[in-house]
C-alpha cells in the first residue's frame, strides 16, 4: 500500500463446511477397551458431524491484486481436494483413515497435508471445528504462537 519499499505480510483465512459420519475404533484394542476409550463415539453404527475447516495462509499482499492469494483459486482447490472427497461421506471408508482412527486430530493432520499442496500461498494453520464445542489446530511445520 503506501509503503512502496516493502510488501505487507498478511494472513488470509477461509472457512469451509462439510458433513460426514465416522466411528472411533481401533483394531489395536479389544471391543471392551474401544468402548471404554471412545465411549459414544465407538457406536458400531457410526454418527456424524457438521465440520468446519478453517485454513489460514500467510504471504505478502500482491501489489497488483491486493491479495495474499486469489480466493477463486483457493475455493476451486478446496472444492476439488476437500469438499468433493469428504462431504457426505463416512470418514472411516476413506483411504486416509484406512490405518488411522478418524479423530479430528487425525483429520486436521490430513487436511493440513492437503492444503500444504496449494501452490499459490504458504499454509500457516488448519483449524477444524468438529462441533461448536470442540476444535483442533494443526500448524504442520510452520511457526506456532499466532492466534
Amino acid at each position: 500500500m503506501s509503503n512502496s519499499s516493502s510488501s505487507p505480510i498478511a494472513f488470509l483465512s477461509r472457512r469451509y463446511h462439510f458433513s460426514a459420519s465416522h466411528r472411533l475404533h481401533t483394531d489395536a484394542y479389544d471391543e471392551q477397551r474401544n468402548r471404554d476409550v471412545y465411549g459414544k463415539c465407538n457406536n458400531p453404527h457410526g454418527h456424524g458431524h457438521n465440520y468446519t475447516v478453517q485454513v489460514t495462509f500467510r504471504g505478502p499482499v500482491n501489489a497488483e491484486t491486493g491479495m495474499v492469494c486469489n480466493l477463486g483459486d483457493l475455493d476451486a482447490f478446496a472444492r476439488t481436494n476437500l469438499l468433493e472427497p469428504f462431504d457426505h461421506t463416512n470418514l472411516n471408508t476413506l483411504k486416509c483413515f484406512a490405518d488411522a482412527v478418524s479423530t479430528t486430530e487425525n483429520l486436521s493432520i490430513e487436511v493440513q497435508r492437503i492444503f500444504a499442496e496449494f501452490p499459490y500461498a504458504r499454509l500457516e494453520r488448519v483449524h477444524i471445528e468438529e462441533t461448536g464445542n470442540n476444535s483442533f489446530d494443526c500448524t504442520g511445520d510452520s511457526t506456532p504462537g499466532r492466534f
Binding site: M1, S2, N3, S5, S6, S7, P8, I9, A10, F11, L12, S13, R14, R15, Y16, T56, P60, V61, E64, T65, G66, M67, V68, N70, L71, G72, R146
Partner: protein, 139 residues
C-alpha cells in the same frame, strides 16, 4: 502481558479493479468482484492490543477510549461509504480484505495509549477474514 480485543462493525461498498489491466483481465482475476457498480459487505473488525495491566485501574486500556478511537479512526470513515470512491487509501490500493486490514493497522498504529497494537482482523463475512500484525517483507 494481556491481549485485549475490541470488535466494531461497518457496512461498506467496494469493487476490485486494477487500472493497469484490461476489462477482461480484471474480470478474469477478480470475477464478480470486478463489477464496477460495486457490491457490499457487513464487515466485522477485531482489534487486539497488548499491554500490561495498570495496577490502579485494572485495565490494559480503557475500553471506552478504545471504542472511541475505533469509531473516530475507522468506523466514521468506512461505515456506509463506498471504499473505492470515498476512502483515500483505496484510491490507489484495491479494497481487498487484506488491504483493508493493512489500512486499518496504519490508521490505528500509535493511536492507542498504554498498549501496543498486536493484530487487526477484518471479517468480510463469517467465512473469510484477513489478519495483519504490522509485518512487512523487504523486497
Amino acid at each position: 502481558m494481556i491481549f485485549l480485543t475490541r470488535k466494531a462493525e461497518f457496512s461498506s461498498a467496494h469493487f476490485y479493479w486494477n487500472d493497469a489491466w484490461t476489462k477482461e483481465e480484471n474480470e478474469r482475476v477478480f470475477g464478480k468482484c470486478a463489477n464496477r457498480n460495486g457490491h457490499g459487505h457487513n464487515y466485522t473488525l477485531e482489534v487486539t492490543v497488548a499491554g500490561e495491566v495498570d495496577p490502579v485501574s485494572g485495565f490494559v486500556v480503557d475500553l471506552k477510549e478504545l471504542k472511541e478511537i475505533l469509531e473516530r479512526e475507522v468506523v466514521s470513515v468506512y461505515d456506509h461509504r463506498h471504499l473505492n470512491y470515498e476512502v483515500p487509501e483505496f484510491r490507489t490500493a484495491i479494497p481487498t480484505t487484506e488491504n483493508i486490514a493493512v489500512a486499518i493497522w496504519q490508521r490505528l498504529d500509535g493511536k492507542v495509549p498504554n498498549a501496543r497494537l498486536h493484530r487487526v482482523r477484518v471479517y468480510e463475512m463469517a467465512d473469510l477474514f484477513a489478519d495483519f500484525y504490522g509485518e512487512y517483507a523487504h523486497e
